[in-house]
Amino acid sequence: MATEAHGADDGGLVFHPMDQFIVKPLFGEGAVGVFTLTNVTLWMALTVLAIIALLVMGTSGRATIPTRMQSVAELLYEFVRKMVEDVAGKDALVFFPYIMTLFLFILFANFLGLLPMAFTTTSHIAVTAVMAVMVFLTVTILGFVKNGPAFLSLFWVSSAPLALRPILAVIELISYFVRPVSHSIRLAGNMMAGHAVIKVFAGFSQVAMIAPLSILAVSAMYGLEVLVSFIQAYVFTILTCVYLKDALHPHH
């Protein structure tokens, strides 16, 4: 990508759609160490602040008749709680704060990433993979703790003909271990692709002839990205609930 962009430098048209994803130190130049304050730190901190603003400051009135902010906070609460309860069952409500954390982090990181000049933390595989692996480990450990070896019955499809079961078990096993990969790449890929496409269209606006069209396209993509931001947070969360359900009730 970057090399192509450099190649286009000669033609006058400059595309750097991937520059927005570069992790760089906030202060000065240099290598990025583990504890360096980077744009990742900044935008994650803003995510935390936004969540605190909505869910803590927004509900500080504890009003019986809610204010607008409190209504939104309650809406999010009800939305995720209902999702956990409906998909994973009542006994999964212990994990409600954990799932709510993931949902709110992804939702706010996605939305904040849509601000111009913003850095989208959820567009990075490193971030989404950590969350996906966390979910994977939680679900796997919980499955074995709750059900013991019986958790392995998840891979033994008892409703299928006996001859097919070993083959299905292999497929189920592979699909189980592919879960964290698809779980994380889905989110990061969606966020990265959307932002990159917006940047590409924005690059086209350098040419006066097609600038109106490209601005229109950027607006349209932006609307789509707002939708995608929410949907990806929702998908990540509901898949977490589905995996959790497998761990709690492994029998098909």
């Binding site: 609460y77 595989i125 490193a126 969350m131």
Partner: protein, 177 residues
């Protein structure tokens, strides 16, 4: 501007290809992500979620209470309406009896007055008739008197000698005829 920063950053970090696959930044991202998630988790589980749950439970309680109170008030209103209707019916019945009583009283009074007046009228009429009768009798006597006197005078003027007894008999006979 974009190209300059890219060049600067690109040379500084010397990262070819996708920034997402620049493993040198993974440690940094993972560290800050874990810090972020832990902070969010504690804020949610310690402050936000219990507070929202409490507010919603409180609201549910308030709604339930209000509904019960509304149900109570509705029953009370229905009872009040029934009592009102009953009072209205009672009052109407009472009014009717009072009206009937008053009517009967008035009628009795009226009848008595009418009877009294009739009696008075009859008495007056009888009295008047008696008076007329008397007057007529008096008048008859007066006429007889005058006629006898006149007849005696006439007889005297004609040169006869009026016998009072004869004249009187003659006049009486004439008057009868």
């Amino acid at each position: 501007m974009a190209s300059e920063t890219h060049d600067a950053a690109g040379q500084a970090a010397s990262t070819p290809g996708l920034p997402q696959l620049d493993f040198s930044t993974f440690g940094n991202q993972i560290f800050w992500l874990l810090v972020t998630l832990v902070v969010i988790y504690f804020v949610l589980s310690r402050i936000a979620l219990p507070r929202i749950a409490a507010v919603m439970a409180e609201r549910q309680g308030a709604i339930t209470n209000d509904l019960a109170a509304a149900e109570d008030l509705k029953v009370k209103a229905e009872q009040a309406e029934l009592a009102y209707l009953k009072a209205l019916a009672d009052a109407r019945a009472e009014a009717q009896t009072i009206v009937a009583k008053a009517k009967a009283e008035i009628k009795a009074e009226l009848d008595a007055a009418t009877a009294k007046a009739d009696a008075e009228i009859a008495a007056r009429a009888a009295e008047g008739e008696q008076k007329i009768e008397e007057i007529r009798a008096n008048a008859m006597d007066s006429v007889k008197e005058v006629a006898k006197d006149a007849a005696a005078e006439i007889v005297a003027v004609m040169g006869g000698k009026a016998d009072a007894k004869t004249v009187s008999a003659a006049v009486n006979a004439r008057m009868k005829g």
